[in-house]
Amino acid sequence: MMKKSFFTIVFLLGVVWLANGQSRISITGGYELGLMNTGRVGTGYKQNMKSTRYVADFAWRYNGANHLVIEGGYRYDSCAFVNNVEYLLPDESSFDRYHTNSMIKMKSAMLGLAYRLALNGENFGVSLQSGLSGQYIFEASRYRLPDEDFEYRLYDEINSVNLLWRTKVAVRYNVFYVLVGYESPFFDTLNHDEILKTLPGDESNRADDLRGVRLDSDAFFVSFGMRLTLGKVYKAFNKAVAKHN
């Protein structure tokens, strides 16, 4: 308890020192809602992906309008997909059809480094930010639709680590901001090498109807939240204390 308190105090003192001396640190917290663009799936496949994130970043204004940003957050993705495909059974005795109506849900953490170009006035500001983020998926599960009944956890079928290139354009008014972003993943979240090892209809492969699902598509997202500059917070805090005294 003592240890935790000690580190908390040191951290707060550090933040206060930086904010007071240079006014170069800002903190952003926000909510992102992403929609994935899923082109190039087959005619029998349909999928839609929604991504919800709770993000925060620390930005260090090192020179003029230039900032280095460390951003991170918690992310919750859900991808609903419908497959309607005819296929040949492994024993080649007859044809069968997929009629899959399912959903994949994933929980993951993101942490990344970005460059931000921010032009700030007193109340208004605009910024352009771009950078690389890592994503670690710590849970992925398959659900049936429409009732979202749990079906099974995904293990080998998932690539747990991914890299994303994220670009955002933001408009700030006072401490509130809205932004639109564009996100390109480097890899697919689904491990298709594993999924393609067996033919559809083979009992040993429970994930055979994920063959056409692709989770590597670009995403657009919108975000809104608050962005606080620590120097201003410090001054406002001092003012409030002085007024109180």
Partner: protein
């Protein structure tokens, strides 16, 4: 390195500096886009499909399977038509794809008997082709070489018209096939012949049924080159029996050879004569060149016929005609006379047995053969038919057999003994 980084970080914002950062952003986005979008292909991921893409990572759901897979599935087989102008008998184990010209018509199931097809007739001749399902990848574009083909004059489906038959087997390699022209003339009750239907079977009584023929109709059956024996199954409709038909009996042809030289054969389906139980049947074929009278000893054969009310004039056989007489089994002296009473052929004895139809051809030179049966069996001598010569065990006797017969089939009553034996120096020695 550190100095360089510091320089970059300390740079003020200038158009050049800004544009270089923007280029970096776009380059990063492009790099990510390249990785995820363009390198990894969407395509068919099933190696058994025709459009399998080994580079595809994402399945497109658009696998295009060969029709040869598809047409091995019963759900893709066609139903036989209710009326039609062609009957296909598929004796192969493959589904067959039938085309008229380049138009795909039907998928004929494997081992299908009498698959009736109504083929639209557009020109005087129709080019029919058959492919095995496993040879066809796309049904719209079959390979150049068909399994069987037939250019045929087809008539539009007509209830009165008997459809053409096409027997398809893979016993014979190659496309060579010929025709058997079956004709089954009307019979009438005065001749004591039954107007029954005939099913025609190939090779044996349990071989594939190739067609059904009604009295008074002709039918052409397309069949691969080869050697065949046709079996005729005579039957009547009988609503009281469980099978709703009553079998009257069987007859068969001798071997029919179809080859490049003999592409077509005419086969006359013989009428079926009812033979009373316990009677022996003797079939007399007149090859003498004149009309003959048949006598058993001194009596006309019509007086010995059993089981028929009216036998008047039955002893007379026109040239090239055939008659069957049911008579009491026994040994008879067979005698042929011309109409003026003169002797026409050598007299000889025949042993008539109710187990077999005895076939005697008049007008054929005969010679006396000494037969020595050294077995413990009662044996019968014949060619394709029983020739009216019966041998007791360990018996030696002389019989009259056709002069051109060199190889005699020797058999016992239940066919547990069957042996072709050659005649050597007018002697036939039968051993076990």
């Amino acid at each position: 390195m550190i100095t360089m980084a510091r320089r970059i970080l300390n740079n003020r914002i200038t158009p050049t500096y800004l544009s270089s950062w923007l280029m970096l952003l776009f380059f990063g986005g492009f790099l990510a886009g390249c990785n995820s979008q363009f390198d990894e292909k969407t395509g068919c991921t099933d190696p058994r499909s025709l459009n399998y893409d080994p580079d595809a990572v994402y399945d497109s759901g658009e696998c295009d399977y060969s029709d040869s897979y598809r047409y091995y599935m019963p759900e893709y087989w066609s139903e036989t038509d209710e009326e039609g102008n062609l009957v296909v008998v598929n004796q192969t184990v493959s589904p067959l794809l039938l085309y008229s010209g380049s138009t795909h018509l039907r998928v004929i199931p494997p081992k299908a008997e009498e698959f009736l097809v109504d083929i639209p007739v557009k020109s005087e001749t129709t080019h029919l082709s058959i492919y095995k399902a496993e040879d066809v990848d796309y049904v719209e574009s079959p390979p150049q070489r068909s399994f069987k083909s037939w250019v045929v004059v087809l008539r539009a489906t007509d209830y009165e018209e008997v459809p053409l038959g096409w027997v398809v087997s893979d016993l014979v390699t190659g496309e060579g096939s010929g025709s058997i022209m079956l004709s089954y003339p009307h019979s009438n009750l005065d001749e004591n012949r039954l107007p029954c239907n005939v099913d025609v079977y190939l090779h044996s009584k349990t071989g594939g049924r190739i067609t059904s023929v009604k009295p008074g109709t002709d039918q052409e059956v397309r069949i691969d080159y080869g050697t065949y024996r046709l079996w005729f199954h005579y039957w009547e409709s009988d609503p009281t029996s469980p099978e709703s038909i009553q079998t009257l009996g069987w007859k068969n042809t001798s071997d029919i050879v179809l080859n490049a030289n003999y592409k077509s054969r005419d086969v006359l389906i013989p009428s079926f004569e009812a033979v009373p139980e316990d009677a022996a049947a003797i079939m007399v074929v007149n090859r003498y060149g004149e009309t003959l009278s048949v006598k058993m000893g001194d009596r006309y054969i019509e007086n010995l016929v059993v089981g028929r009310e009216n036998t008047q004039g039955m002893s007379t056989i026109a040239n090239r005609d055939t008659m069957i007489y049911p008579v009491t089994p026994g040994c008879y002296l067979l005698n042929f006379e011309e109409l003026d009473g003169s002797q026409a052929d050598a007299r000889f004895y025949v042993d008539l047995n109710k187990l077999f139809v005895t076939r005697i051809v008049s007008g054929v030179a005969r010679k006396e053969i000494v037969v020595n049966n050294q077995t413990e069996w009662s044996l019968f001598l014949g060619d394709d038919y029983y020739l009216g010569a019966e041998m007791d065990p360990q018996q030696q006797k002389s019989v009259h057999l056709p002069e051109n017969l060199n190889l005699v089939n020797v058999f016992n009553s239940d066919s547990t003994f069957f042996k072709p034996v050659a005649i050597v120096n007018d002697t036939l020695t039968i051993t076990e």
